[in-house]
């Protein structure tokens, strides 16, 4: 369980480091994440929040299901 959480938390970091590394190796600033006035950064933030919310909902759902089974 704990491993899973770390893995999920590291997903946005992976996204960040990968594109950042790409920028340095090419010496170009206009990478995917930085293009179009950095709108993709906003998209990444929003998707991260959304995925986080869904993970939380699934975990609550599972907890309630466990209690329901005990009834």
């Amino acid at each position: 369980m704990r491993n899973k959480i770390y893995w999920l938390l590291s997903l946005p970091c992976l996204l960040f480091t990968r594109f950042d590394g790409y920028a340095q190796s090419n010496g170009v600033v206009e990478t995917t994440m930085r293009s179009n006035n950095k709108i993709y950064v906003v998209m990444a933030v929003c998707i991260t929040i959304l995925v986080g919310l869904f993970i939380y909902l699934v975990s609550i759902d599972k907890k309630i299901a466990k209690i329901e089974d005990r009834q």
């Binding site: 993709y40 998209m43 869904f54 909902l57 609550i60 759902d61 309630i64 209690i67 009834q71």
Partner: protein, 225 residues
Amino acid sequence: MRKSWWKILAAVLLIYTFTAGFLIKVPELGILKESSRNLFFHVPMWFGQIILLTTSMIYSILYLRKPDLRYDIYASSLAKTGILMGVLGLLTGAIWAAYVWGAPWSNDPKQIGVAIALLIYFAYLVLRNAIPDIDKRAKISAVYNIFAYFIYIPLIMILPRMVESLHPGGKGVEGNPGLNGADLDAAMRMVFWPAVIGWTLLGTWITTLNIRLYLIRDKNLINAK
């Protein structure tokens, strides 16, 4: 997870909304510019809210026909999520208005109408918590919920049609009180409708969690009937 297919559908539709919503090309509409993408996030709050509050009102009628505590739990849980979406809709609308209308609150008829509707629904929650007797609470709040619904609909659907407003739709403007359908191009529609379904399903999911929790908590009361 219980009955997971539609929960997965909600996740897929919303991830699609959050991706395509940022990626598609939107038509440049006057002062809106890129902010018209808010259509995929702000407007579905109202769709979801109307669907949840309508269902809540139906369960209140069912409770009055047959006083089963389960109906009361359904009605109140649906109303709570509906109110949450209403608050989020109002807040996101204010953020949007701050940059498009020039002020977060300009006493626009639609803003005032929704604020009154929300206050009426807040009173529903206060009313419920004020009555300790379970059967009395269920009955009075069911009556109040039906009343609240039939004042909520005129406030957000009928009054906005009769007055001028900064918001799309209404007197002298194309479209319904929510949006001007002619402003949407095909690409926006392909994101907008999945977004409406996705947000509504998310609201339903949160509601079912609440319902299941209360069903367990009040198990003894329900079985006693």
